[in-house]
């Protein structure tokens, strides 16, 4: 049986960040990185841009072979893990071979969640999680006139925009009343929706597909209100969920994802998890959450990597803060932290400035004079500084009014003073 000191399962942001952290401290011991894909590492986040043609699929790779050679890393493609063997510090690959490890990181990410809608299973539809998905979608695009995007989250909206720009007539079907419900309130979402509508995207909010049927080479969706929609392309983007089924019988505790502590350690010795597959403590809640966003995957990967390499500078995970950035039709929406509804009401202040004419929106939520959330549409502020203000629980004190008036400059000054 092949053996490696560090085994990293997965090859996207959490895995690469962990690898980077391991190699900063331990330049020698053997590292093996496994990916189920047949390509170099890439980010799922770039895929909508591969579909639209903005990104050249040959140039999206996050590392090249030279990097792995330089850092003495064995990079294995087409190596999906079928199961983790309990008590043996080993995994079994899809081809039946086994790899033993001293320490393993699970950074296997998430997979599209398919809704149980009658007729969907028998249909030819697209998802967008892997590079091969993006290439298939891009390849199909020239023949598509009408498309249905099921789901108004980030992936669905990115795809809808790119389809619309390619001249496709797009309908987005979303059960929630608004798009991007996880990050923005109704008012901000409405501003985003308006831009889509103005660009010819049909948004069917608060509606759900109850059945699908094949229609020639395409499909027909029937909505809850009885409306029928025909399309020659169906993209299912109703969310993603951590992949944990291969852990059955391994003894690794899972909830929605793989449960980890503040060092990204699972309950099983020598096994860590990070990124979209992990369920770790939240910053605003005592419960463990799946915070499936790229910057958090980077953060969690680094913490796991440092712990695995026994780096004396190991950090403790501060907890997941919901955040995201979203560009659409040349406009920007940014969300960092939580809305007032997610907080104990005492000491909470919320302030909102809306300029509909300029499609500009800014909302700031404070808790006990500390930043808890900031949300903007075409509003200038530095999300990284805001995230850090939240994590450091910086008391805005006398700067509170200045912050509400001018969050970008005030936060920059606070940053420059506080983390010099």
């Amino acid at each position: 049986m092949q053996h490696t000191h560090y085994l990293i399962v997965g090859a996207s942001h959490a895995a690469l960040s962990a690898l980077h952290a391991i190699r900063l401290h331990d330049a020698e011991q053997e590292v093996t990185l496994l990916t189920r894909d047949d390509s170099l590492p890439y980010s799922p986040t770039v895929l909508p841009y591969v579909v639209s043609g903005r990104s050249n699929p040959e140039r999206v790779f996050l590392r090249d072979e030279g990097y792995f050679a330089q850092h003495k890393v064995t990079y294995r493609r087409g190596a999906a893990v079928r199961k983790v063997i309990a008590g043996e510090n080993a995994v079994e690959l899809a081809d039946g071979s086994r790899i033993g490890f001293d320490k393993m990181l699970l950074a296997t990410g998430a997979a599209p969640l398919l809704p149980p809608i009658p007729g969907l299973a028998g249909l030819k539809f697209h998802v967008l999680r892997k590079l091969t998905d993006a290439l298939a979608l891009r390849e199909a695009l020239p023949r598509v006139k009408r498309a249905i995007v099921l789901g108004g989250g980030l992936i669905g909206m990115h795809a809808a925009e790119n389809l619309a720009k390619a001249g496709v007539e797009v309908s987005v079907v979303e059960m929630q009343a608004h798009v991007l419900a996880g990050y923005f309130d109704a008012e901000a979402s409405a501003m985003i929706e308006q831009v889509f509508t103005a660009n010819g995207v049909r948004l069917l909010m608060g509606s759900s597909a109850v059945s699908f049927s094949a229609q020639g080479a395409g499909c027909r969706a029937t909505l809850a209100d009885g409306t029928g929609l025909n399309a020659d392309l169906l993209l299912v983007a109703t969310g993603v969920a951590p992949v944990t089924d291969f852990l059955a019988g391994s003894g690794i505790e899972t909830g929605r994802g793989v449960l980890v502590d503040e060092h990204m350690r699972t309950n099983v010795a020598n096994i860590w998890a990070a990124g979209d597959v992990a369920q770790a403590r939240g910053f605003f809640t005592n419960e463990r959450i799946v915070n499936g966003i790229l910057p958090d995957a980077v953060d969690q990967g680094r913490i796991a990597g440092m712990a695995m390499a026994e780096d004396p500078g190991s950090k403790i995970y501060a907890g997941g803060v919901p955040l995201n950035t979203y560009s659409f039709f040349g406009q920007q929406a940014v969300s960092v932290g939580v809305h007032e509804g997610a907080l104990e009401p005492s000491g909470v202040e919320a302030m909102k400035q809306v300029n509909s004419a300029e499609n500009r929106y800014l909302k700031i939520v404070l808790k006990d004079r500390r930043l808890a959330g900031i949300f903007g549409v075409n509003a200038a502020f530095d999300p990284g500084i805001m995230w850090e203000l939240i994590l450091r629980a910086i008391d805005l004190g006398d700067e509170k009014l200045a912050f509400l008036r001018s969050p970008q400059d005030t936060a920059r000054a606070l940053m420059s003073k506080n983390w010099r």
Binding site: H20, V60, R302, T325, A380, D409, S416
Partner: protein, 444 residues
């Protein structure tokens, strides 16, 4: 070994908010008058000003956060390069950056960041207040890092001591054709002469008596010269071995113009033997032989100005240097090496002692910097042709308290003692300025 890079340093206390840097940047990078286009952002903060600018981080979070491989740390320049042909405008880099160093610019419809203007930052050139400084010392480390380290790994200096830095850097620069003398003191104490019959250097090294360092080196140099070989004779000595016990042979060698490079690493006392006072220990300082108690309050005499004494020997080259100002130190080392080929070269390097001066071990370079910025020590150089020149004149010296208060050896000082120190520093400054004023006339 990682490379060292250039950086832009910001001193908020010197910034007056004139925004000339932002004008210059917006012009240089976007041919625009719009400050929003500037990669450097000065922001008001209370009475003063603060800064948002790409730090060109060594371990950049923006790069790890980029899903499109559009950001990369350039191993050559150290700049984090942005590739517009790969960028997808997702703004995730702005989430990774906790410094506001990469931000969306609506005028250009993508993120913008500082690219250091290919090594000549426009903002720094435009800054007239000294708030922005282009730190290029990284070049030195890269250049010297490529030279062979002539000491063994693992010298056992005290934690935070800068002497190891001085030793390794100077010998790297001097090169292998050298014989090194390390008289008793911290430098042999930390292992440079070696243990159990093995030397701590990769070049010939010997351990003279405190009294005869310069005379032995004079003989070594003359021997090799007579045999037709250009071998440098270098002393790495402490201030005690130089100023007190070894002064007779030093003075003689300097007066005879022996071709020696004599480096005095001045930590203001006999630190490795238990922190006794030396002729270089300043007034008021605690040492184990100038104790602090009911009646005694540290040293009661001023330090002798050893580099000035050496200047009065009319040596081929004399200079003082500090490890807080490495570019300056390197310039002087270069000139001292050249001068030692034809005459006596004396380099006096200040070396704050973490153990004997009693301050946190991570503060060494900061203490060295404060010594210069308060005019406690003056950085100058001398050669017989040009006279004395201040190489780092400090126009507005910081209050001496800023230096004294960080050092445990001055904790007991009363107001009279501080006043004495201030008088001594003023006298010293006036004396040195007198030599500066006499440049080109009397000193030849």
């Amino acid at each position: 070994m990682g490379a060292a890079y250039e950086t832009i340093n910001f001193k908020p206390e010197a910034c007056d908010g004139c925004n000339d840097c932002m004008d210059a940047c917006a012009q240089a990078k976007a041919q625009s008058d719009d400050h929003l286009q500037s990669r450097i952002q000065i922001v008001p903060s209370g009475e003063g000003f603060e800064l948002a600018l790409c730090r060109q981080c060594g371990d950049p979070e923006c790069v790890l956060n980029c899903p499109a491989a559009a950001l990369a740390k350039n191993a050559g320049s150290g700049v984090i390069d942005w590739d517009g042909s790969k960028c997808v405008n997702c703004l995730l880099c702005t989430v990774g950056c906790a410094y506001g160093g990469i931000a969306y610019d609506s005028a250009s419809s993508h993120v913008i960041k500082c690219d250091m203007c290919a090594g000549a930052p426009a903002c720094v050139k435009a800054c007239t207040t000294g708030a922005l400084k282009h730190i290029t010392a990284g070049r030195i480390y890269n250049e010297v890092g490529n030279l062979e380290d002539l000491f063994v790994p693992g010298l056992s200096g005290c934690q935070g001591c800068n002497t190891e830095l001085i030793m390794r850097h100077t010998l790297r620069r001097i090169g292998p054709d050298v014989v090194v003398a390390t008289p008793p003191g911290c430098i042999p104490g930390m292992g440079s002469v070696g243990y159990n019959g093995l030397t701590g250097t990769k070049v010939p090294v010997f351990h003279p008596l405190l009294t005869n360092t310069a005379s032995m080196l004079a003989g070594v140099r003359r021997f090799y010269k007579r045999n037709g070989r250009d071998v440098m004779a270098v002393a790495l000595a402490g201030d005690g071995g130089t100023a007190d016990v070894g002064f007779q042979s030093l003075s003689g060698a300097a007066e005879r113009g022996e071709e020696i490079l004599y480096i005095c690493v001045d930590n203001e006392g006999y630190m490795n033997t238990g922190m006794q006072r030396s002729g270089c220990t300043p007034y008021g300082a605690w040492t184990s032989t100038t104790p602090v108690g009911e009646r005694a309050h540290g040293k009661t005499q001023d330090a002798k100005n050893l580099p000035l004494l050496m200047m009065m020997h009319n040596c081929a080259y004399v200079a003082t240097a500090s490890t807080a100002f490495m570019e300056d130190l390197y310039d002087k080392l270069e000139r001292a090496i050249q001068a030692a080929k034809t005459g006596f070269a004396y380099l006096h390097i200040y070396s704050p002692c973490t153990t004997g001066w009693r301050y946190p071990s991570d503060q060494n370079i900061e203490v060295a910097r404060k010594a210069v910025e308060t005019n406690f020590v003056l950085l100058w150089e001398f050669n017989p042709g040009d006279g004395l020149r201040l190489t780092h004149p400090v126009e507005k010296a910081r209050p001496i308290d800023e230096y004294l208060e960080v050092l445990g050896k001055y904790r007991h000082l009363d107001a009279d003692q501080v006043a004495h120190i201030e008088r001594s520093l003023a006298n010293n400054l006036a004396r040195i300025r007198g030599f500066v004023a006499a440049r080109g006339s009397a000193s030849v």
